[in-house]
């Protein structure tokens, strides 16, 4: 039926959602190497101030700012977004709803290549005169609005351009996800028979779509300030710096859930398969996520409690912030309850999925200290906040992605990843991550504020330098632990044990397609008869029951 595809159209300019998904994942992992390298550079500086860093040299103060800025930007927009939402979303969503491809395959290809160009644009900003932007990933004006303040020439506009392209790419993905989910579901795939990942990816796309607009406007205004000194954010010209903060966080906070939700979806799929248990309270989870999605538009100013906003509006924002913990508490409790009465198999994927819950809980509860207005006066912009969001984002981005990769690798490449090496990778990663981030809570409480390139310059922080050293050594181990993963990934692609169609005995539709699925995904159009979590049904022989199996 289809004409023979050349290598170029099959693997590079492909319209197949599976290839696009894998492209996103691989580019995201490559960008993670850049982000990790930057983390290595500035963590080395923090532990051993002003020493020559192996593989970099001496890090000056302004380059330190660039390094932290680019680390944040890359990890959020070029690692988390592409891997979790676009990568897994593109690969899994059509398969899970039983579609042959995305609704708009060409748009899908375009979205990846726009993303690719955005990544190149961002990377190129390292090499322009005066280097990459150093205004923080939040790019607050006037620092970022007036080139005179930053000492950054081309870095700042390039940063905005790159982010704008990235947003465009993600919007295209979002349009595809939503349309595919609505119109291309297999026969019998009602909304409440969709796997949680599909729900989560769609809610995340919706949240992104509604929240990013004002920031796109704000970014363009910032660009106008940088290039033409119009002054939207410059007080001397009648503008207001606080406006940008509002526009940024109106997007920035929902963005956190754009990352969290797909991760929760991935974890849900994995823990149900490996505990041979149904998810606990499927609809309850969906409704709490929807509530959280709406609430996420009401909390943005909690990032600005001490930023000069009217202090009287802090109280309502503090309340909504604390309230948003409830739907996520429900979700987390439901995930834990899903293990109740199960038969837990500790495969590498399951270990990563569980470690995501274990570590995310600490990130979650410490958020209350930042959300409560009074304690945030102290905690704001200290390492406590840094530790808090790394304890949420590290599990969301890395632990979940690893879980997902180990889990779906047999589907994607038709071969297993090596479990022994996987477990070595898991234990070192999960444990060393705590050595990296746990000390940061303590230095933060001790009063170490963010983005200073040498804490030992401050009298009250001199005694806590050893905590920075522990954190940095933890990071060395954490980065080192990724070597077995990378080798495992590429070697298993060609040499791994061959996988059958449904090696984990899972229910969702992607496991009913061949491994790897060919163009068009399914051999026969799937017809769905049940929800995806019928594990260990009573009075059946096998302990799983694919969605395609008639009742």
């Amino acid at each position: 039926m289809s004409k023979k595809q050349s290598f170029l159209t099959k693997y590079i300019f492909s319209q197949d959602h599976k290839v696009v998904g894998v492209q996103y994942m691989i580019l995201g992992l490559l960008m993670a190497l850049v982000g990790g390298y930057l983390a290595y550079v500035f963590r080395y500086q923090l532990a051993y101030p002003n020493q020559s860093i192996p593989g970099y040299g001496v890090l000056e103060a302004d380059k330190y700012n660039s390094a932290v800025t680019m680390h944040g930007t890359i990890m959020v927009f070029w690692v988390a977004m592409p891997i979790l939402l676009s990568g897994f979303g593109n690969y899994l969503l059509p398969l899970m709803v039983g579609a042959k491809d995305m609704a708009f395959p060409k748009l899908n290809m375009l979205s990846f290549w726009v993303f690719f160009v955005s990544a190149l644009t961002l990377i190129s900003s390292f090499f322009v005169p005066e280097g990459a932007v150093g205004g923080g990933w939040t790019t607050y004006p006037p620092l970022m609005a007036n080139p005179g303040f930053t000492g950054v020439g081309w870095g700042a506009p390039l940063w905005i351009l790159a982010v704008a392209l990235e947003f465009a790419s993600m919007l295209m993905s979002g349009i595809n996800f939503l349309t595919t989910t609505i119109t291309m579901r297999a026969k019998g795939m009602t909304f409440f028979r969709m796997p949680l990942f599909v729900w989560m990816a769609n809610v995340a796309s919706l949240i992104f779509m509604f929240s990013v607009g004002p920031l796109i406007a704000g970014a363009l205004m910032l660009l106008a300030d940088q290039l033409f000194a119009v002054g939207f954010f410059l007080p001397e010209k009648g503008g207001d710096p606080l406006l940008f903060q509002h526009l940024f966080w109106f997007f920035g906070h929902p963005e956190v859930y754009v990352l969290l939700l797909p991760a929760l979806g991935i974890v849900a799929e994995i823990i149900t398969v490996f505990s041979r248990k149904s998810i606990f309270g499927y609809k309850m989870i969906i409704y709490s996520v929807l509530v959280a999605g709406v609430l996420s538009f009401l909390v943005w100013a909690h990032h600005q409690f001490v930023s000069g906003i009217d202090p009287r509006i802090a109280a309502p924002f503090g309340l909504t912030t604390i309230l948003i913990s409830v739907p996520f508490a429900i979700t987390m409790f439901a995930y834990i309850a899903s293990l109740w009465g199960g038969q837990v198999r500790f495969s590498t994927a399951m270990l990563f999925a569980i470690s995501m819950i274990v570590e995310f809980l600490l990130g979650g509860v410490t958020g209350i200290l930042n959300g409560a207005t009074a304690s945030d006066i102290y905690m704001h912009d200290t390492y406590f906040v840094v530790a808090h969001f790394h304890y949420t984002l590290f599990p969301i981005v890395f632990l979940t992605s690893f879980a997902g990769i180990y889990f779906w690798f047999p589907k994607i490449f038709g071969r297993f990843m090596n479990e022994t090496w996987g477990k070595i990778h898991f234990w070192i990663t999960a444990i060393s991550a705590n050595f990296v981030f746990l000390p940061l809570f303590f230095v933060g409480i001790a009063g170490n504020h963010r983005r200073i390139y040498d804490p030992s310059l401050f009298e009250h922080l001199k005694d806590f330098q050893y905590l920075h050293v522990i954190s940095t050594i933890g990071l060395f181990v954490l980065i080192g632990a990724q070597v077995p993963f990378i080798l495992n990934f590429f070697i298993s692609m060609f040499k791994g044990k061959k996988a059958t169609e449904n090696p984990w005995e899972a229910n969702t539709l992607e496991w009913q397609a061949p491994s790897p699925p060919g163009h068009g995904n399914f051999i026969t159009d799937p017809v769905v008869h049940r929800w995806p979590y019928d594990y260990s049904l009573e009075n059946t022989e096998k302990d799983w029951c694919p969605q395609t199996e008639a009742i």
Partner: protein
Amino acid sequence: MKSVEHHSISFYITIWVILMVAIGASVYLGSIQHAHLATLLIFSVATVKAILVANYYMGLSHEPKYITLMLLVGVLFIGLLFVGLIPDIVYIYGK
């Protein structure tokens, strides 16, 4: 399958005529003296125009109500942003 709803050409032209009249009304209202009333009326007229365009030209009137709802949710969130910004942008605390 339900067929796409069709309005006649004369229907579309009628809408256009109403829109033209509305433009005239806006321009006239821009010149009257009573500022608050003028503002209110001008934006009411604009909203009427917007509803006409959205409903009959964009075709929202014969789309499922979910689509209108979705767009309204977007507008609602922007409304939240607007309200949240009033204390900081319109009034400056402590000034």
